[in-house]
């Protein structure tokens, strides 16, 4: 016969307390230890990520370190990383760091400076980097904070068949001006070709970052600066964007939009590139990855676009009497300041940015060849790579004329300024502001923001951040 056990209230309470205690112990987060050979890598989801992910096994086999790679959008990445560092909750060991965040991350000790790692490890081969790329993307106040894993310049892409049929000659060596470029765009606009109504060009008009990325290339090429003195000499953040040169650039940009599909006012980076890939655009200038991305009909689809073998590539136009300045952007890897796996993180960065891995990334053919964004000059001369990516010599020449710190200066409140600038540039395209109003209003906002953030007058120590200083730094670390 079964008997019903007698359960007292006290027993229930004791059991409950024991259960709660056990659960609490079980739920306590496990801290990552140095012996834990899993490396968490948090990346921006650009083309380089697919190549890295495809080659991850090689790293694991060579080092015995397991990789846990995650890719998210740049905006989400910044929000997630900031939240992780502010709350001191380690999120990843290796992180993508945008060049605009570099100063903030280094000064807040959110990433570790790499100078000592590089110096102690000759395999880094620091001499085999385009100095302009390291200067633009990876150095801040004499420290290397990150190493480039994907380096972009800007270039001109055109639809060869259509341009030939229209009787237009494109000087591919850069011996043309922005006025010539605009005249060609106007000539190519509105014609019929292969059953499509062609637009002269396409702009990326979405606010804030895409439109700023596109406009600032044109503006910098015409000799404009954001501030009175930055990043060289004694820093003075008095805005200089309301200048005749910027106004001329903005009027040119507005004219380009008028020869572009009207919906381009809302186009982000990829929308603009894919519109060109659709085959109803004559010519446009954009980040260099679009030289291979436009060969496909979508992002990592592997399917050729209608213009896959009909894309011509030319160097950017210049402004008469002005030295060419090419925008440099891309993605770089840094070691999270709160990681427990510093050495493993460094091993990964060294591997991902090495000439050998970068070449393998370029030859990785899952969705077609989708990576030619090198910062190492040796790869631009590699015959295997030139065969697949014939535009490489021009791309290197563009990078060597690059200065990311002039085109989009990485000042402490850059994202705030970009937000305002992007909004007002977009308003010019949508007809809400004239170019004159845009620059005047933006300049006033810049002043307010910079004063509000104690950057005008600038009272902290300046750093004479020149390309020569970066070359000297590279020599000292080599």
């Amino acid at each position: 016969m079964m008997t019903t056990p007698k359960i007292s209230r006290r027993t229930v309470l004791k059991s409950g307390a024991a259960l709660a205690g056990t659960s609490a112990l079980g739920l306590k987060p496990r801290r990552a230890s140095a012996q834990d050979k899993t490396l968490r890598v948090l990346l921006a989801g650009d083309p380089f990520y697919y190549a890295i992910e495809g080659l991850a096994d090689q790293f694991q086999q060579a080092t015995g370190i397991k990789l846990q790679i995650e890719a998210i959008s740049l905006e989400a990445l910044q929000a997630r990383l900031t939240s992780s560092f502010i709350s001191n909750q380690p999120d990843a060991d290796v992180i993508s760091v945008d060049q605009m965040w570099l100063g903030q991350y280094l000064e807040s000790k959110w990433i570790l400076p790499l100078n000592e790692f590089i110096k102690a490890d000759k395999d880094t081969d620091i001499a085999d980097y385009v100095p302009q790329a390291l200067y633009s993307m990876n150095t801040w106040r004499g420290q290397v904070g990150t190493l480039p894993v994907a380096t972009y310049g800007q270039t001109v892409l055109y639809y060869k068949d259509y341009v030939e049929q229209a009787g237009v000659k494109i000087p591919t060596d850069g011996s043309w001006s922005w006025a010539d470029y605009l005249a060609i765009v106007e000539k190519l606009n509105g014609k019929d070709f292969s059953g499509a109504k062609m637009a002269g060009t396409v702009v990326s008009g979405q606010q804030p970052a895409p439109v700023v990325h596109m406009f600032t290339q044109l503006a910098a090429s015409m000799g404009t600066h954001w501030f009175k003195q930055f990043p060289t000499g004694k820093w003075d953040f008095e805005p200089t964007i309301d200048s005749p040169e910027t106004l001329e650039a903005l009027k040119t940009f507005q004219a380009l939009y008028k020869n572009s599909p009207p919906e381009a006012v809302g186009y982000n980076w990829f929308d603009a590139g894919m519109r060109f890939a659709k085959g109803d655009i004559g010519i446009f200038y954009w980040w260099t990855p679009y030289a291979y991305l436009c060969k496909k009909d979508g992002y990592m689809t592997g399917k050729d676009s209608v213009i896959a073998d009909k894309i011509g590539i030319a160097r950017l136009p210049t402004a008469p009497g002005k030295k060419q300045v090419v925008s440099i952007g891309g993605h770089s890897l840094g070691i999270a300041g709160n990681t427990q796996n510093r050495d493993a993180a460094w091993q990964f960065i060294k591997w991902a940015t090495s000439a050998k891995t970068q070449k393998e990334m370029a030859l990785f053919n899952k969705f077609g060849y989708q990576f030619s964004d090198f910062a190492r000059p040796s790869l631009y001369k590699d015959p295997d790579l030139i065969k697949i990516y014939p535009h490489l010599p021009g791309q290197l020449a563009d990078l060597e004329e690059g200065n990311g710190k002039i085109v989009r200066p990485p000042c402490p409140v850059y994202t705030t300024l970009e937000g305002i600038y992007g909004l007002n540039l977009n308003k010019v395209l949508s007809g809400e502001l004239t170019p004159e109003q845009c620059l005047k209003e933006t300049s006033v906002f810049f002043q307010t923001i910079l004063k509000g953030n104690f950057l005008i007058p600038y009272q902290q120590a300046s750093y004479d951040d020149t390309l020569d200083a970066t070359k000297a730094l590279m020599a000292s670390l080599a």
């Binding site: 905006e75 606010q207 919906e263 809302g266 909004l423």
Partner: protein
């Protein structure tokens, strides 16, 4: 012994009710009051994460002045109020119309009710992506439908024109949330005692009179609750704007919720975002207080 005395309940010590209610109070303070007070404190400090990981100094009303003088707050407030008021009104009207149809016992209603709830279960971000494709000027369903009906569209596309973009965002929201109104109001209509409706029918009340004088007054409490809920949700509209327009073209679709995201999570100006949060709290609570005061006056 007197049995009544023996069964008299024991009187609890005075602190026991407080002890029992204390977990709720602690939870309330931790989840609502603390973040709000933390934001209030930050709103008086200069704290920009691009400049420093910790607050850089007390600046009094500086953040509030910046929020109000920047020109963005009032533009965003106007967009937000437009979306909120028009959106709530349209969703309520359409939802009520659907609820009135649902109470009729016609074939296929069970399936309709099940399908109706589906848009509400989709994440707003996904709805945003769906509508982004549907608004695509190069082959999207909505431009095609409108053009087929002879309705002219702006050359920049529905999302590219400042005259249509805000309405496009609103339309996506209406598509998603009208069923929510419909389901809740349908439940309200089902709770009306049938004899009241029957009595009205015997008195030969017209359908319009039945709706305005019997049905709506009897579901007023339910309707007010759901209106307030949606009002507050719409006031914080953010995700649809983020996916569909990023606040553009220009600032034509920038709402307070989106501005807050921009200041806090893109610009990382925690002080300014905190000040904006408090301005929003004040505005939305003032409106809700007015709504509650007028709507529930008679019930009190």
């Amino acid at each position: 012994m007197n049995s009544t005395l023996a069964h008299r309940p024991r009187r609890l010590p005075a602190f026991i009710p407080w002890l029992l209610i204390s977990p709720s109070i602690i939870l309330l303070v931790a989840l609502i009051a603390f973040p709000l007070l933390f934001a209030l404190k930050n709103s008086f400090y200069f704290w920009n994460l691009q400049m420093s990981p910790t607050p850089m100094g007390f600046i009094g009303w500086g953040n509030y002045e910046m929020a109000l003088s920047g020109g963005f707050f009032f533009g965003a407030l106007l967009n937000t109020l437009l979306i909120t008021v028009v959106g709530t009104a349209i969703e309520f009207t359409l939802g009520l119309a659907i609820a009135l149809l649902l109470v009729h016992k016609v074939p296929g209603m069970n399936m309709t009710r099940a399908l109706l709830i589906m848009p509400t279960t989709i994440a707003p971000i996904v709805v945003g992506f769906l509508f982004r494709y549907m608004y695509d000027p190069g082959g999207g369903l909505i431009p095609w439908l409108l053009t087929s009906l002879g309705i002219p569209l702006p050359p920049q596309g529905i999302l590219g024109s400042s005259t249509t973009a805000l309405w496009a965002v609103l339309f996506a929201d209406i598509w998603q949330w009208t069923p929510f109104f419909a389901i809740v109001l349908y439940a309200g209509l089902l709770s009306i005692p049938p004899d009241i409706i029957e009595a009205a029918r015997i008195d030969k009340a017209s359908p319009w009179a039945m709706l305005m004088r019997i049905k709506i007054p009897l579901i007023k409490k339910t309707a007010m609750i759901v209106i307030m809920l949606r009002f507050m949700q719409l006031f914080n509209t953010f995700d649809l704007v983020l996916v569909l327009t990023k606040g553009g073209p220009g600032a034509s679709t920038r709402t307070l919720g989106y501005s807050l995201y921009q200041y806090g999570l893109v610009d990382f100006n925690i002080g300014l975002a905190s000040a904006m949060t408090w301005l929003m709290v004040i505005v939305v609570n003032a409106i809700i207080a007015l709504l509650v005061f007028f709507a529930f006056k008679e019930f009190d």
